[in-house]
Structures are given as structure tokens and as C-alpha cells.
Amino acid sequence: MVNYSDKIREISKRLLKDCKVDMIIGFRKGSVPMMNEPHFARTAEDVDELVWDSNCGINLANYLTDRKEKIGVAAKGCDSRNIVTHILENKIKREQLTIIGVPCKGMIDKRKIAGLVEGEVLEVTEDEEQINVKSSGGKKSFKKTEVLQENCAVCIHRNPVVYDEMVAEPVPEQTDVDRYEDVRKIEEMDPEQRWAYFDDLFKECIRCYACRNACPLCYCPTCFVDEAKPQWVGKSQDPIDIRTFHFLRAYHCAGRCTDCGACQRACPVGINMRMLTKKLEKDCKDLYNWEAGLTLDSRPPLDFYRPDDPEDFIK
């Protein structure tokens, strides 16, 4: 990963020097363990702050929305797929972008690691496939594959699908993962169980909207929950309104979500709202053989009519 950082800096400096871009969007080292901060660089000096490691789980496509500059952006597999979606949805132009592709072996799960060690996590370092954690209760090491974010563990598009330069050779894609085991479990529940499951899932929600705001798909000028004339959704902690927010937001992501995991990662109370978007992702795969953001050549299934669209649901 060290060479990823070096390579990103090297490419960024060249792009800025050659005036190919006005700014680079990447990450700088965070101030607490397992966190990096999305960051922009306009000068060679700024570029020296850029880093890349297993804590770059925020989706940088989110920082491209409606920008006017020429931008160099570091993009792992999911970021690149959301960049494709952004381009298709006219939130940024391909010509504005120089995509610095980052092959990715997954981001580590800060909550999982915090739960596996004694006391407070004080420092996390990594070498190759190993994650070393220093906590107030001692030291522990983990295989990186054991502590990946849930979405990364089942990711099948780790390499950027669109890029101008790559920081390294592509990494092997995972082929033996079952992406939807968890979704099937919920599908198999009876309605009461499923209702109880989602009731429980959202019980800690504080409506901070971190999930929505970390999501590159959620760029509406006014979100339906913020709409006031007329108001669509109540604003209190009423569980009905909380669920309405989560359910409707998920539907807005159907056929567009890349399961980048930024929503779950951003949530301050650790809600796995991906269980909604993953179901829709699975449906899009089953119904339309569609995976979001893989190509600039066709539009997402829910914003385009094809004569051979499945219509079994019409009875």
C-alpha cells in the first residue's frame, strides 16, 4: 500500500505540473485510527499529504458531483463504478476527469476490529495482508481478509472499470464469493419476522443522514425528507418516519448502487442499511442481468425501457 501512496503522489504531481488537472481528489491520513479524510490537492505540496491504505472506504465519486474543474481522482473499483454512474447521470463529464485507478483488496472494518480487541483501538498499521492493532488492552494481528468491511469481503469488482492511469497491476478478482447469502436469509423470512428484522435494524437511527450524504447517488438538490412544501415525511424520531426515510432512499438507489459500503461505514451507530440496497441490487441482477456502473455504454435498467424487459410481474 505504501507504493500506492507514492505512485498516487507521483501521478498527481505530474498531472498538476502538466496542467492536465486543476486539482486532485484523494485521501489524507486521518487523525484517529482506521480513518482517512477525503482531501484535495492543488499544489505539489498538498500532494505530499495524499495517502492510500485500507482506510479509504469513503467513496470519492461523492466529491465530484457538479464540480466544474478538471479533476484527477483516485478511484478504487467501487469509486470507478460510481464515477461511471455519475457520468451517465450528468453529474460530471468524462472529459473533466483523469481517473487514477487503484486496484483494491478491500477496506478494513473499523467496528469489527474495535470489537475484536480489548479496550480502545490506539493504532492500526498494515503490512501486505496483515493488520496490526495496538489497543489499550494489548497488541493483536489479523489477516486482512478476516477484518474486511462486509461489502469488501464479497466484492467482485475490485479493479477500476474505467481509468486513465493505474497505480499498479490489477489484483485478482474474487470469483468464489456468495454475494447474496444475507439477502436470501431475509427473503426466506415470513412477513412478521422480516418486519421485526427491519424494526430492529433501524432502532438506533438518529436521522443524521450520514448514510445518505456519504452516498454518491444521493445528490438531489432537495432530498424528499427535507422537502417542506409540501412536507412528505415527518421529522421526529417516530419509527415510521425513520423507516420511510431508509426504505425510500434505498429504492432511489435501485440499479445504481454499487455496494461501495460508504453508507454503512459512515453511520455513527453502525446500522447496516445495505441490507436494503443489496436486495435491490440482487433484484436488478436477477431481472435485468444488470450490475451498476460497469459500462458507459448502457443506461441503468430503471431509467430506460427495453422491449425485452421482463414483465412477469404484470398479471
Partner: protein
């Protein structure tokens, strides 16, 4: 409760807080802890930290449940105990056949005594800061004040602070007493309790914990040991003298700070000192209620005018507002330090790692250069 009564209560409370001359220390054998809690339940609703899935939260403690003191701090601050995220204020009917048609009627709420056990000193001090907003000469917020008056704050000294705690440079500390009625410290097979107010005395009596102890040394040594464990700091000395407009106008600094912000409400909602709210009317059928909900200056809708114009339309403006309020406007207006107690929740929970410690230092440093420029 009229405002005069609230005023009286407030003054009474301040006087109580100052009764430190006859302050007592009481020992509580841990074997008597649960029995004491049961006795307390006869007079108080008890609230304390409870672990749910991953994190600790303040929850009401039903019979048989003791607070879980094996925690760093709760995920959400204790402000919700007196200031819930959603609170009904009034109810009304739109049914014209009803006599009380269109009349706002106050919603009955339970203001019976409650006691929060295990509130950290940072959160207790934060309640005092929030009070500056809800209890002013001109305005007394009856809902906040009644809830506050009904609450006894029983703190738990912080012997194992987190790496993100910076209370000692934020006008607070792991054994800070401001805002507390009782301060507990863990002392092996017992707790020692410093009784700080009359409310605290009544609480201890209700629990049957009255055995005096010579434990001043435990508090003194515990305090210095805990303070030494605070490794994180902020600089605030120059904030007061910094030129407000120059600080506000430092676009380059604010762009650097705000770039990563996604404008979620995490920092403001988990913050023990953020006090902003929004009033909402909700009608179901013919039945309506007026409530207030926490609001966040990070949300674009926070400042949207009815014309549609938004004076704080960009995220740079919103992020700047949050930090300027906490670290400059508040400092200037109240002369009570910064509007932050150093609990570190926003540091830990910001999804994109915007760190108030860094921002505070940048602002303070800017204040310093600004002052030098004036002198030069």
C-alpha cells in the same frame, strides 16, 4: 410552572452548587449498590448507561437492571435526558365539532424526579453550557428547565479516558464537578461519592447511602492520575482576541477544513453542547401535535428562508458556522470558554474524520497571527 418559579429554582440551584463548604464524601459498598438502586426506584426514575449491540446508550433502568459502568462514554451524549431528540409540546384538534377546536393544549409529560447514574463529567458540564441557551434573563424554556430541575446528575469520574478526550484543555476534566449533584469514583470494592448539592444529598438519603468516608485523597490522586492520562489537547488562548471577520473570511482555511464534509448531522447530534432545534407541526387526520426536534446547522434546510433563498447555501458556510459558533461566537458572547467540553464524540464519529481538535488549533493559530499582525 411560571417563569418566576423557574427563576427561583435556578437561583436555588446555583446556591446549592456553591455549598461546597459542607460537602460530604460517602462510601458505598458495591454489595449495597443494587439494594440502594431499588430504594432509589421508589423516589426516582433511574437512567444509566446500557450496552446495546455495540455501543453504550443512556436508557431507563427497569427493576433489576443496574447501570453498566464498564464503558468509556455513551455513543450519544447525555443531553437527550433533559432535551430529547423529539419532544411533543402541544396537541390540538382540527375537528370543528369539538369545543377545544384549534386550541393548543400543552402535552402532559412526566416531570417526576429522575436520576441519571454514570454521566461523565464532560456531559454534565455540557448540560450547564446548554443551559446558557435555555435559561436566559429574557427567555426561560419551560420544557428544558422542568426536565432539568427534575433530574439529579450522578456523575462517574473518568479514570480511563480515551485517546480522543481533550477535556482538560476544553474547560473540563475527568473529575470535573460542574453540573453534577454527586460525583462517584470507583474505589475497588466500593464507590466513593462526593455529595455536591442538596439534590445530591436527597438522592444519597433516598438510596440509604449515608456512611461517611475519609476519601478526599482518593479524589485528589484519582484526579491527577486521570488528568495525566489525557493525551489530547486543544489551544484556545487566542480565540478570544482573534478578529472575527478576519477569521470568518479566511476562505482558504475553511475550504481546507470543509472539503471532506458531507453535511450530515452526526457531529451536531452526538455533541453534548449543540442545542439547536426545529419546531414542527404534524397532523394525522384531525389530530395535530406541535413538537420540537433537534436540528443541525450542517443541514442545508437549517437556514432556508420561505422565499427559497438560503443565506448559508454552501457547505463551506455551514461548516464555518458550526466551528465559529463553538469556538468564537460563543467564546465572545458568554465569556465561558469554548462551546465544547472535549468529549471527543465528533472526533470519533465524523464519517470523514473532520477533527475539531485540528480546527480549534488552526483557528487559534490564526488568532495568534492576526494578533501579531495588529501589533506589528
Amino acid at each position: 410552572m411560571d417563569s418566576h418559579r423557574i427563576n427561583q429554582l435556578t437561583h436555588q440551584r446555583i446556591n446549592q452548587s456553591r455549598r461546597d463548604t459542607d460537602m460530604k464524601i460517602v462510601a458505598i459498598d458495591k454489595k449495597d449498590w443494587e439494594k440502594g438502586l431499588d430504594r432509589l426506584r421508589e423516589a426516582y426514575r433511574l437512567i444509566g448507561p446500557v450496552k446495546e449491540d455495540r455501543y453504550h446508550y443512556f436508557r431507563e433502568l427497569p427493576q433489576g437492571q443496574a447501570p453498566d459502568f464498564d464503558f468509556f462514554n455513551t455513543r450519544i451524549s447525555a443531553k437527550e435526558i433533559v432535551y430529547p431528540q423529539s419532544e411533543d409540546l402541544f396537541e390540538y384538534t382540527l375537528d370543528e365539532t369539538k369545543e377545544d377546536y384549534h386550541l393548543l393544549k400543552e402535552v402532559e409529560k412526566d416531570y417526576s424526579p429522575k436520576a441519571v447514574l454514570g454521566i461523565r463529567p464532560c456531559d454534565a458540564k455540557a448540560v450547564e453550557l446548554v443551559k446558557l441557551n435555555f435559561d436566559t434573563d429574557d427567555y426561560k424554556d419551560p420544557y428544558w428547565l422542568r426536565a432539568w430541575e427534575a433530574t439529579t446528575f450522578v456523575g462517574l469520574a473518568c479514570d480511563s479516558p480515551c485517546s480522543t478526550c481533550f477535556c482538560t484543555t476544553a474547560g473540563c476534566g475527568p473529575y470535573h464537578e460542574e453540573g453534577l449533584d454527586v460525583l462517584l469514583a470507583d474505589d475497588g470494592d466500593r464507590y466513593v461519592a462526593k455529595v455536591l448539592t442538596e439534590k445530591g444529598e436527597n438522592f444519597m438519603k433516598a438510596a440509604g447511602w449515608t456512611e461517611g468516608a475519609e476519601a478526599e485523597a482518593r479524589f485528589e490522586s484519582g484526579k491527577s492520575a486521570a488528568e495525566e492520562k489525557i493525551v489530547s489537547t486543544v489551544s484556545t488562548e487566542k480565540l478570544r482576541s482573534a478578529d472575527t471577520l478576519a477569521l470568518h473570511g479566511n476562505e482558504e482555511m475553511w475550504e481546507d477544513i470543509s472539503f471532506s464534509c458531507i453535511n450530515c448531522g452526526t457531529c451536531t447530534f452526538v455533541c453534548p453542547t449543540c442545542w439547536c432545534f426545529d419546531i414542527q407541526d404534524e397532523v394525522h387526520g384531525k389530530q395535530g401535535r406541535r413538537m420540537r426536534n433537534w436540528d443541525s446547522c450542517m443541514f442545508p434546510i437549517f437556514t432556508v428562508h420561505t422565499t427559497g433563498h438560503n443565506p448559508r447555501g454552501t457547505k463551506l458556510q455551514r461548516v464555518r458556522q458550526r466551528f465559529m459558533h463553538k469556538l468564537k461566537y460563543f467564546v465572545d458572547k458568554y465569556d465561558a470558554g469554548i462551546m465544547c467540553v472535549g468529549c471527543g464524540r465528533c472526533v470519533q464519529q465524523c464519517p470523514v474524520n473532520i477533527d475539531i481538535r485540528r480546527v480549534c488549533d488552526l483557528m487559534d493559530r490564526y488568532g495568534a497571527t492576526d494578533a501579531c499582525a495588529v501589533e506589528g
